[in-house]
């Protein structure tokens, strides 16, 4: 055969991907050395490291994640309660990317009702998963947790507000997020701040309300009972809550909704009755879901780094499963992710508060 820059098999088919062996040959070392450089890079001489790195650059090598995962064969699953949720994109993005890096397979099953989620879990268990990611409200369901542990599968609570001992969790400080947002509103001169509760079945709901209450209390502001409206995290429930809150007199100068869907509804209702946002009324949401930057004006909200959280969840669970398989002591760490306030155009100074 003649010379060629790419490897080629007998069929004449191009094998366009560079393997670890190609790099090894190019660098004049064994593939094992290359492997070591790619990974820990412990116990490798500076010299080797340099050579190998150069060859990787030269050949434009990138490891085959599939082959890597074949070794450990860890399968992880996730149940997603709200398949049409706008968070799903970010969640999948983070989870899948990390599953490559962590060398494991990642499966997902939708399921809007608990019944469907249970069926999805069934399928995941049959597929041989070693761990499963449970977002709210699934992560707070006793039935769910029970079934998971009965199957010998490691659970991970995703974005729960009430982590449990013995269950790994990605924890988010809903309390602090709501507290910060409320303080932000107070700092802008708002005193009468309405609040729309989240779905009581989701653990973050209560924590968000507590944060709101604490911030107001801390500022010495007494909360009028009528400032609090019930909600279910849906746009529709936000509509109802908005009508209630905007009917109060004197009207609150700001409304803080427990999520963005409801905040968007408030914005629609407010503008519907001729109010200018944020000049007449400020509106804040929670989550930084896509809708927050879709509606106009764009919503000031608390950003949950869903993609990063999903990536962390996958990495943690993969470690846990490997650890458990090699007989290690089970640890179930709780990792806390930071929430950040992102200010957009739906909030501003309170009317008459001076600039």
């Amino acid at each position: 055969m003649a010379e060629r820059s790419e490897a080629e098999n007998g069929n004449g088919a191009k094998r366009s991907v560079v393997t670890i062996h190609d790099v090894a040959r190019h660098a004049g070392v064994s593939s094992m050395t290359v492997s070591r450089v790619i990974n820990g890079a412990k116990y490798v001489s500076k010299e080797m490291q340099r050579k190998v790195t150069a060859s990787i650059e030269a050949l434009n090598y990138s490891p085959n994640l599939t082959a890597r995962s074949l070794k450990s064969d860890v399968r992880l699953g996730a149940l997603y309660s709200n398949p049409s949720s706008s968070n799903l994109g970010a969640f999948l993005m983070g989870a899948f990317r990390q599953s490559g890096a962590s060398g494991c397979q990642f499966l997902i099953e939708p399921g809007v009702t608990e019944e469907e989620a249970l069926e999805g879990l069934e399928r995941l268990i049959e597929a041989g998963i070693g761990g499963v990611i449970l977002p709210p409200p699934l992560c707070d369901s006793a039935r769910m947790l029970e079934k998971v542990s009965a199957a010998g599968v490691l659970p991970l609570s995703f974005a729960t507000a009430i982590p449990r001992d013995g269950v790994a969790a990605i924890v988010v400080d809903d309390y602090k997020g709501a507290f910060d947002m409320t303080r932000h509103l107070i700092a802008a001169g708002h005193r009468a701040i309405g609040f729309i509760q989240g779905d009581p079945k989701h653990s973050p709901s209560q924590r968000r309300e507590q944060g709101y209450r604490a911030a107001l209390a801390g500022a010495g502001i007494r909360i009028e009972p009528e400032w609090i409206a019930p909600g279910l995290f849906t746009y529709k429930s936000g509509l109802d809550a908005a009508r209630q809150l905007l009917g109060i007199s004197p009207r609150p100068t700001a409304i803080f909704a427990s999520n963005d869907d409801m905040a968007a509804a408030v914005s629609a209702v407010a503008q519907g009755i001729g109010l200018s946002v944020p000049r007449d009324i400020s509106i804040a949401g929670f989550d930084d879901a896509p809708v927050a930057s879709t509606v106009w004006p764009e919503l000031t909200t608390i950003r949950q780094p869903i993609a990063e959280m999903a990536a962390t969840a996958v990495a943690m669970l993969a470690d846990q499963v490997r650890n458990a398989r090699s007989g290690g002591t089970p640890k179930a760490p709780h990792v806390r992710e930071m929430l950040t306030l992102v200010e957009r155009n739906s909030t501003g100074p309170a009317p008459g508060a001076g600039e």
Copy 2:
């Protein structure tokens, strides 16, 4: 440890997954036979087939997709122009699931601007992809297509309205979708139907407008120029268009927006000026994005089966890459996906049209 039903290795670590060999042993055949049964099932005796199937059932075997893909080592990429898009979730769901089934790796790079998309493409090429999925407007960009083919990567146009010869494509009949929706509105008694255009840079935009125009023409209705408002697929642009369209007198009894984000904006504006949807005005969208079932009333829209389309795209591209590698003649099929009208609560009979 107490009793356990699962296999276990010397370390005491559970190997929870059943392999093809376990099945083979259980059925008293070679693993090759099992493999054949799982796949084509060609050249296998009925007898074997039965035995193997039974064992698979009994052991609850499911093949390890990772191992399967290791053989062919096909890497596919996708560029996603709108990472915060609500379609992303469905897209990823479909693509990733199929990538497992098709035995290939799937990588995705975000990129809102063409510049960023080009960088993402660069990374994908470096990662050694054999094919790439391009949604609009990327699939209609000459620069993009040029760079892709220069790298020897097979492109696939996703949901384009103007497929090209020699480039595989998932085609969607935007014309027919818009035509059907317009007919639907006409059938409900509407005569004055406003239309909001999509982003002119996206190929589906023109086709949707053509479908709208054709349906009206077919019903012998003359389109008033003022019924057509420009839009950019964004909520904000929908707001502007809605104000324009709702200011016309006599006011259209229905407004058909080129996507759901804009339709949602129309709904907000309409309700804002005291109109009841759909009693006073009907509103229709396109895409069936999550927002369509988020807002209230929920939007009548044209559903694009994004997840299925993504799955088809991955399957097709994987085949293409394998085919090309084994020196096959390149075919670039165009697959047409069906659009369906989903009627929800934002449309109804035209006012005064009788029930």
